[in-house]
């Protein structure tokens, strides 16, 4: 492979004159594009002042000062914020991707945006008095604290990046659930924050910009100072260490700079997603033709410029298309997410196959195989716990009941209060048990196929697609809880899965590629959902938000039945395929060697997972954590063989979701916390504890 085509080699070999000139020309071109986009941006605004008015200002014809006021008070701050956010996030993404040696690492991975969001929502929900000049600091502090938590749990900033990504994702999920819970429980106090959570460029003035720009400037300079070491880091830890690069210190410095940059960006524009992923990816894509851009001294500024260009262009195009007044309805983050997800999917398709095994990095995969006796004991205990959880679910709630009441109710002799309470609770408990079990089963199947420790049904876009289907029906006027809604959710989930499967099919299915495409499709679905919800209810946390967070509220037996039926169909199929699952989980070659038709087996397994998750949405809404945690816990208990893991995982999933539902119904009665949020809140610390137990 020539120097031009190998990124690492291109990064470390010296630049020749022609290349420097070429690179300089590209950077100049990018800057020129940015200037044009910025000028166009300045001509757009809600007050209707256009190009002619701006020309008047420039030529001194603005006698009343009105145009100057609008430009200085509103348009310049918006543009400045967009540029600064784009630069900060672009550079932060490039830093993280280089440090992690992973093309899909992004600033959101370290839970910075999630931490900033939860801090702002918590301050609003609990009515904490914050002086105006410090309101930006709340978001900054929240982001930095969350990243600090992630780093502490993962074992330091210089630790292996897979642990960092795992810890970051777990913490981000937990914080997002906490945010959702606050948005739901403190509806009036947090009006408008659901929209803010997707990012907005509307500025109060230039104060926030002046507060954030020194931080961004200092961090970008620091990143440029690190550039050479980052080039060498691409050779691998050992290679770089042998060349005298302090590996841990460099990684730590890179991560810290990325955290500070992201936190500054969130103070300016709220949590804007995907810029940190898209900008460096685009530069690396362009570097195929201009290899000089593999060098960090050029990659970092180019990522910053591309990031700024993406933010400004997406704002410009949206306002040109919809008009500035209508474009306010759409948060900036939704546009960048949709754009970035498309870029991600395109990139994923171009990715070369990773080839042989990616390494079974699943937590607990190294657990020694357990004896059969232990398996039986574990199974019996977990089954007992499941029964206990069901009983507890029936007894607990706003009114605490006793087992005698349940016996009376079963016999039809219960007094009205008891009968009503149990009639309300029994379908909910059943939905939680059945939904939890089905999700855990789907999670096992997905983890076996994707061989990725973070894989769960949501990662394939299924739950996102179900959410879009549901939101479309509700915003089009259908009520929530109707059969149409549930049917739309199932169809949406299956369509999203089909899309992910077909797009990632390139003569075969690569597990990395399907994960990337799934992440992209999920992001598109999330962006669409947010947009549709905001369009129908721009200010209030939508009532559908609790359903989207996973709740059993209002469930009836008719909604539990489909999941039971699907389970009855899928479980025998999975049991018959248990040995193929063991082979799939190792790598791509082992099943072929064993004579298993790889693609067909994968298709059957993934379809089963898709059908299970899409139908679960009917019973429990969109629940995200169970399919991730239950298989991990099962493997930690009984080892890696699927004939043992599957039953234990199903029971554990049932216990987890039903306990979460019971807690959510009881702890703050009469108010209720959606079960999906409780699962994430108790699942995330458990997941991080699991992480801490495995070796790096």
């Amino acid at each position: 492979m020539s120097v031009d085509q190998d990124p690492v080699a291109a990064a470390v070999t010296p630049l020749r004159g022609r290349r420097v000139v070429g690179a300089g020309a590209v950077l100049l071109g990018l800057t020129g594009l940015l200037v044009v986009a910025s000028a166009w941006h300045l001509t757009q605004g809600t007050s209707g002042l256009g190009v002619s008015d701006l020309l008047r200002l420039v030529t001194g014809g603005d006698t009343t000062g009105q145009v100057r006021d609008v430009v200085v008070g509103s348009r310049l701050p918006r543009l400045a914020a967009g540029l600064l956010v784009g630069v900060a996030l672009g550079v932060a993404g490039a830093l993280l991707q280089s440090v992690a040696r992973n093309p899909i690492a992004s600033p959101d991975t370290l839970a910075v945006t999630a931490g900033a969001y939860v801090a702002v929502v918590a301050v609003a929900a609990f009515g904490v008095a914050v002086p105006l000049w410090a309101s930006g600091l709340v978001a900054f502090a929240g982001g930095v604290l969350a990243a600090g938590l992630v780093l502490a749990m993962a074992g330091g900033a210089g630790t292996s990046t897979s642990r960092l990504v795992l810890a970051g994702s777990a913490v981000a999920l937990a914080l997002q659930s906490a945010t959702a819970m606050l948005l739901v429980l403190f509806e009036e106090e947090t009006t408008g924050l659901f929209a803010w959570g997707s990012g907005t460029l509307s500025q109060l003035g230039l104060r926030a910009f002046w507060q954030a720009s020194p931080v961004v400037l200092a961090c970008v300079v620091g990143a440029l100072l690190l550039a050479r070491r980052l080039d060498l880091l691409g050779l691998g830890d050992d290679g770089a260490a042998s060349l005298g690069v302090p590996v841990r210190a460099t990684r730590g410095a890179g991560v810290l700079l990325a955290v500070l940059l992201t936190a500054a960006a969130v103070t300016l524009a709220g949590p804007i997603g995907f810029i940190g992923l898209v900008a460096p990816a685009l530069v690396r894509l362009a570097a195929r033709w201009a290899p000089a851009f593999h060098r960090h001294a050029l990659l970092l500024p180019a990522s910053g410029l591309v990031g700024a260009l993406v933010v400004v262009l997406s704002d410009v195009v949206l306002r040109a298309w919809l008009g500035a007044a209508a474009a306010i309805e759409i948060p900036t983050g939704v546009t960048t997410t949709l754009l970035g997800a498309v870029v991600l999917v395109v990139l994923a398709r171009r990715m070369r196959d990773a080839g042989s095994s990616r390494g079974t990095a699943r937590a607990g995969a190294r657990a020694p195989s357990r004896s059969r006796g232990r398996f039986v004991v574990v199974l019996v205990v977990v089954a007992g716990v499941t029964v206990g959880a069901v009983v507890l679910g029936l007894l607990a709630g706003y009114t605490w009941l006793r087992t005698g009441d349940v016996a009376l109710w079963l016999g039809g002799d219960a007094p009205p209060f008891v009968a009503f309470a149990l009639d309300e609770r029994a379908p909910r408990v059943a939905a939680a048990v059945v939904g939890g079990g089905a999700l855990a089963l789907a999670g096992c199947l997905v983890q076996a196929t994707c061989r990725n420790p973070l894989a769960e049904p949501g990662i394939l876009g299924i739950t996102g697609g179900a959410g879009v289907g549901a939101v479309v029906v509700v915003t089009a006027g259908g009520g929530s809880g109707t059969p149409v809604l549930l049917g739309a959710a199932v169809v949406g989930g299956l369509v999203a899965f089909a899309l992910v499967y077909l797009v990632s099919w390139r003569g075969g299915l690569d597990s990395d590629r399907i994960v990337l495409v799934g992440v992209g499709v999920s992001a598109v679905a999330a962006g669409l959902t947010t947009y549709l919800l905001l369009r129908s209810s721009p200010w209030d946390t939508p009532r559908l938000y609790t359903w989207l967070s996973g709740t059993t509220y209002g469930r009836s037996w008719g909604q539990v039945l489909p999941v039971v039926l699907v389970l009855l169909v899928v479980v025998p199929v999975v049991v018959a395929l248990r040995r193929e699952l063991d082979l799939l989980a190792v790598d791509d070659d082992t099943p072929r060697l064993a004579g298993v038709p790889l693609e067909r087996a994968r298709l059957v397994v993934l379809t089963a997972a898709a059908v299970l998750s899409a139908t679960c949405v009917v019973a429990v809404g969109v629940v995200g954590f169970v399919g991730l945690v239950a298989p991990h816990a099962a493997r930690a208990l009984v080892g890696g063989r699927h004939s043992r893991v599957l039953p234990v995982a199903v029971l554990l999933g049932a216990v987890l979701l039903s306990l979460a539902d019971t807690l959510g119904r009881t702890v703050i009665a009469p108010a209720q916390v959606p079960a999906g949020l409780v699962v994430a809140l108790i699942g995330a610390p458990y997941f991080v504890w699991l992480l801490a137990r495995t070796r790096a």
Binding site: V128, E187, L201, L408
Partner: protein, 363 residues
């Protein structure tokens, strides 16, 4: 041989399970629990509710203490906002309400609810009618706790048609608890929508006489307020009522446009709502940034007086050249309403709004 700590742990767990099992045995004594237990809900009115209740002796609406209207008897048959028929053998006396505007309307009709969704929030945000003691809390407005609702033994449950989960309320219907769905708002004619909802609740509780008295007094008060404003001859009669949110460096402004309850009350008083931008279909609310406010000309700027933890929104806007250049700000015509006015309320809130407009334009 099991180790000693393990054995102790096993013993502890087993005894806990046994204790739990014993505690869970038996049946609930339903006799003792027959009376619904209010669960510490309606806090005494907070500071923001110090503004005199709108049905006191000096206000526009006759207070419930002086009310001498009769309550109707006899069976009731209604068509609610969703087109369903609600049949009652007699007007409802134990009413549970799941939204604040309807709670206020019920209290104006001099009927005390037995259960309210989020009574603490109601006391903070809607000061038009104070909530009496002893009202049961049934959870959040979005997901009311059905168990708590049933235990309050309501004759009727009043919900807002656009919110809530209809399938959940189906469970109440299975136990013969009638549910009345009312329209929360309608941007086509918000004042009429409010009157219709008020009327529907009045019919369900047999308080039609009181409702007529209240609506007549409201009309009279609105006319009197319009006269007061005309007499004060303000320099401009156009206005924009807005609120907004500041998070970090971001600002989002929410003007109440055509079809909003606040805006329509203002127009009823002879004023002109200067916000003509796009609004949502239900509540008539628009969205804007600071620059967008410069399109309202010299309209008076009105805002809420209920402050959240960051204080007055306009303090955050100070220093911005666009804001300072607005005619209303430059000429000191930016006014805050009295605190505690619920902008999606009933007749008592409308009276509060009218008083606030008069104070803003003649003060």
């Amino acid at each position: 041989m099991t180790s000693s700590p393990l054995r102790r742990a096993r013993t502890a767990v087993t005894s806990l399970l046994l204790l739990g099992g014993l505690a869970a045995c038996g049946t609930t004594d339903s006799g003792a629990d027959a009376t619904p237990n209010p669960s510490g809900s309606s806090a005494p009115a907070s500071e923001s509710a110090e503004a005199a209740a709108e049905t006191g002796p000096d206000s526009a609406l006759t207070g419930c203490a002086d009310d001498d209207t009769a309550t109707a008897t006899g069976p009731v048959s209604l068509t609610d906002a969703l087109g369903r028929t609600v049949e009652l053998d007699q007007p409802a006396q134990r009413v549970a309400v799941l939204e604040w505007g309807q709670t206020e309307s019920l209290l104006t009709l001099c009927v005390s609810p037995v259960a309210v969704a989020d009574p603490e929030g109601y006391t903070t945000w809607d000061t038009a009618e104070p909530l009496p003691e002893g009202v049961a809390d049934v959870g959040t407005r979005g997901e009311p706790n059905l168990d708590a609702l049933f235990r309050a033994e309501p004759d009727l449950v009043v919900v807002e048609a656009s919110g809530g989960d209809e399938s959940a309320l189906q469970q109440l219907a299975d136990y013969d608890v009638p549910v009345l769905a009312t329209a929360g708002a309608d941007a086509a004619d918000p004042v009429a929508a409010m009157s219709e909802t008020f009327d529907l609740i009045a019919q369900a509780t047999g308080r039609q006489e009181r409702a007529e008295v209240v609506l007549d007094e409201l009309e009279a008060h609105l006319d009197a307020s319009a006269d007061a404003i005309a007499a004060a001859a303000p320099t401009t009669t156009s206005f924009v009522y807005f609120d907004g949110y500041v998070d970090g460096g971001n600002v989002a402004l929410r003007p109440f446009g055509q079809g909003s309850f606040v805006g329509e009350v203002g127009e009823r008083l002879g004023l002109t709502n200067a916000w003509t931008g796009k609004v949502d279909e239900l509540y008539g609310l628009g969205q804007s940034d600071i620059e967008g406010m410069s399109t309202v000309g010299d309209a008076v700027l009105l805002r809420t007086g209920t402050y959240n933890e960051s204080g007055d929104l306009t303090e955050a806007l100070e220093g911005n050249p666009v804001w300072e250049a607005l005619p209303a700000v430059a000429e000191d015509r930016s006014v805050a309403f009295a605190p505690g006015i619920w902008t999606f309320g009933g007749p008592a809130s409308a009276v509060q709004l009218a008083d606030a407009y008069v104070a803003a334009f003649s003060g």
